[in-house]
């Protein structure tokens, strides 16, 4: 799993710095963006294997919009690249964020096309574990 490239999108430069240290110490290659538009550009250029995304960013470029913009790009890569969101939102709403494990169906509007969540404040170990879980499941499928 070494040399996997991870894109961090978060408007907090300190958090980006800390998480970069953590992920690099676990053998990942890290690229970062401090806002959504830049994030899309970096994703386009760097083609990371996974994107870690803050859910709420200022200036209306919320993480949600980022996800939908990304997923709506014609390039197949953008529809497949796994995304992990930094938020506790999945604990607080009845929305389902993963497709049902069975037949993969889900109801429109109740689904956010991301593969994982990590609560804020971010526990480094939890983030690393989630990244590994997502990457493993992608590799398996």
């Amino acid at each position: 799993m070494a040399h996997n490239k991870i894109l961090l999108v978060d408007d907090d430069p300190d958090l980006v710095h800390v998480l970069t240290l953590v992920l690099e110490s676990h053998g990942y290659e890290v690229v970062a963006a401090l806002e959504a538009k830049q994030g899309l550009e970096v994703a386009d250029g760097e083609r990371p294997d996974l994107i870690v995304l803050d859910v709420m960013m200022p200036e209306g470029t919320e993480g949600f919009h980022f996800v939908w913009n990304l997923r709506n790009r014609p390039d197949a890569y953008f529809q497949q690249v796994p995304i992990i969101m930094l938020t506790a939102i999945h604990q607080r709403t009845p929305l389902r964020f993963y497709p049902d494990s069975g037949d993969g169906t889900y109801q429109a509007g109740e689904y956010l096309p991301v593969q994982g969540f990590v609560d804020k404040p971010v526990e480094p170990a939890a983030l690393v574990a989630e990244i590994e879980r997502v990457l493993t499941s992608i590799r398996r499928s």
């Binding site: 907090d12 958090l15 998480l19 240290l21 404040p121």
Partner: protein, 501 residues
């Protein structure tokens, strides 16, 4: 600046009293009939029955007309364009009506039809005076002791009309009687003596007639004076009552304004709190994460004392992060239903989720978590995030304040139209004197602080805010050292109307 005058309900009162007046007139009709017929038999007196019954017929007809006209006083009022332009009530503004209506203090006025009602009452009193005079004329004139009946008219005038109008009526009655008496004395009018056993003949004696006139005059004017004095007093009271109710109305308006101001301030405060908490949350999270990373990566290289400091800093940053999160939850719940999205919520799903989240801390604390979820729970209309926080806080409190080996029991079930959430623990309990304060922000009882160092004191405030947001109720029973039971009841709400379609 001219203040808008306060309107007195003059018309309503006049109409009511004229109605009473008309009923009295029916009593008078019956009284005359009985008097004439009984007088013939018992006394016995010989009446000139034809003119008397003629007058009686007129009286009946006239009273029927009056009772038919009465409801029209209120209805059918047409505001003339000129009146409209001036904004005055023309009925009241007319000089005659102004003369007839009782005076009111400055700043008051009568409603618009009051003038017409007064004119109506005035006309009736005048007709009544004439009818009484006519009746007296045919029943012995000055010799008839019923001449004092003029008093009744004066009393009624004093109740209905102004003081001046009352004196006018007293004078009118006296003049009518004087005309009758003098007319008969001087032979201008024929005299109809009551014959039979009634002693008659006084109508030709000037000093007797003068005495009668004098006595009647005195009686009528004294009555006018007394009647109007009482009426004026009563009216003053009436005005006071109207003024008081007006004042109360104004006070209520002030209170409403003050309430709205306080509410707006409360909302502003809540928004401010929310903004501050929101701004604090990000940096705090980063600090906590950074400290965590520092701990992980530097544990081998850092001196123990420094390590301990970083550990402390990390723990405290975590507490702060939790508290800001709770402040956010609190302001969110306090924002009312408008600040959240109300959807159909499956309580069982929320409870299972929360139990899954807190099971770890229960195990860690050595506390048994017993959960019973009612079969086939109905959905309720609510805020899923708030409801999850409510259950989390209640169960979390139970676990936190229950010593090792204890039990926290969570029961969720339907009861009628409400969802009941019942959390019972075998914990340290809440001192009775602290019970009223448990919903205060940042309040933690001494027992709680001694038992568990951490805790923001916001949990129950959040619970209460969520309960109120959902229109529910909460009750807490506790025995120190034995445990606490919190019972929350939430109305199911109108699902079909607000469902997220």
């Amino acid at each position: 600046m001219r203040q808008k005058p306060i309107v007195l309900p003059g018309t309503e009162e006049l109409i009511e009293r004229i109605g009473w007046f008309i009923r009295l007139r029916w009593v008078a009709v019956a009284g005359i009939l009985v008097f004439v017929e009984l007088g013939r038999i018992i006394l016995p007196i010989q009446f000139y029955r034809r003119p008397i019954y003629g007058i009686l017929g007129v009286l009946i007809l006239y009273n029927v007309v009056a009772s038919l006209l009465l409801p029209l006083v209120r209805r059918g009022y047409r505001e003339s364009p000129a009146d409209k332009a001036q904004g005055v009530a023309p009925g009241y503004a007319g000089p005659v009506a102004r003369f007839l209506l009782p005076r009111v203090p400055a700043g008051f006025t009568y409603d618009r039809e009051a003038g017409r009602a007064a004119l109506f009452a005035n006309a009736q009193i005048m007709v009544d005076l004439v009818i009484l005079a006519a009746l007296l004329h045919f029943t012995g004139g000055v010799e008839n002791p019923l001449r004092v009946f003029f008093v009744f008219h004066v009393i009624i005038a004093s109740i209905l009309l102004s003081r001046r109008a009352t004196y006018v009526h007293a004078t009118l009655g006296l003049l009518l009687f004087a005309a009758l008496a003098l007319g008969e004395l001087l032979g201008v009018l024929p005299h109809f003596s009551l014959q039979g056993h009634w002693r008659a003949g006084g109508y030709l004696e000037p000093h007797l007639v003068a005495t009668q006139l004098f006595l009647l005059g005195v009686t009528l004017y004294i009555t006018a004076y007394m009647g109007t004095a009482i009426a004026v007093h009563l009216r003053k009271r009436e005005v006071e009552v109207v003024m008081l109710s007006k004042q109360i109305e104004e006070k209520a308006e002030h209170l409403q304004v003050a309430y709205e101001e306080v509410s707006a301030a409360e909302r502003a405060k809540s928004q401010y709190m929310r903004k501050v908490a929101h701004e604090l949350r990000g940096p705090l999270g980063t600090i906590k994460t950074a400290l965590g990373v520092a701990l992980d990566s530097a544990s081998g290289t850092m001196a123990d004392r420094s390590l301990e400091l970083v550990q402390r800093a990390e723990r405290r940053a975590g507490e702060l992060a939790t508290m800001t999160q709770e402040l956010l939850s609190l302001s969110r719940a306090r924002g009312g239903r408008a600040s959240v999205e109300i959807t159909a919520v499956d309580p069982a799903a929320i409870v299972r989720k929360v139990v899954g989240d807190v099971q770890g801390s229960a195990d860690q604390a050595g506390v048994t978590l017993a959960v019973s979820i009612g079969e086939g729970l109905n959905e309720i209309m609510g805020d899923p995030e708030g409801l999850a926080e409510l259950v989390t806080n209640l169960v979390g409190n139970g676990i936190r304040y229950t010593p090792q080996g204890g039990t926290v029991t969570l029961g969720v079930y339907d009861a009628g139209g409400t969802l009941v959430i019942n959390v019972t623990d075998t914990g340290i309990g809440i001192p009775e004197e602290d019970l009223p304060r448990i919903y205060d922000e940042f309040f933690r009882s001494k027992v709680a602080r001694e038992f568990a160092a951490d805790g923001s004191g916001l949990g129950m405030a959040i619970v209460k805010a969520v309960v109120e947001q959902h229109g529910g109720s909460i009750s807490v029973r506790s025995a120190l050292g034995q445990g606490t039971t919190v019972r929350v009841e939430l109305p199911r709400g109108q699902g079909s109307q607000t469902a997220t379609a």
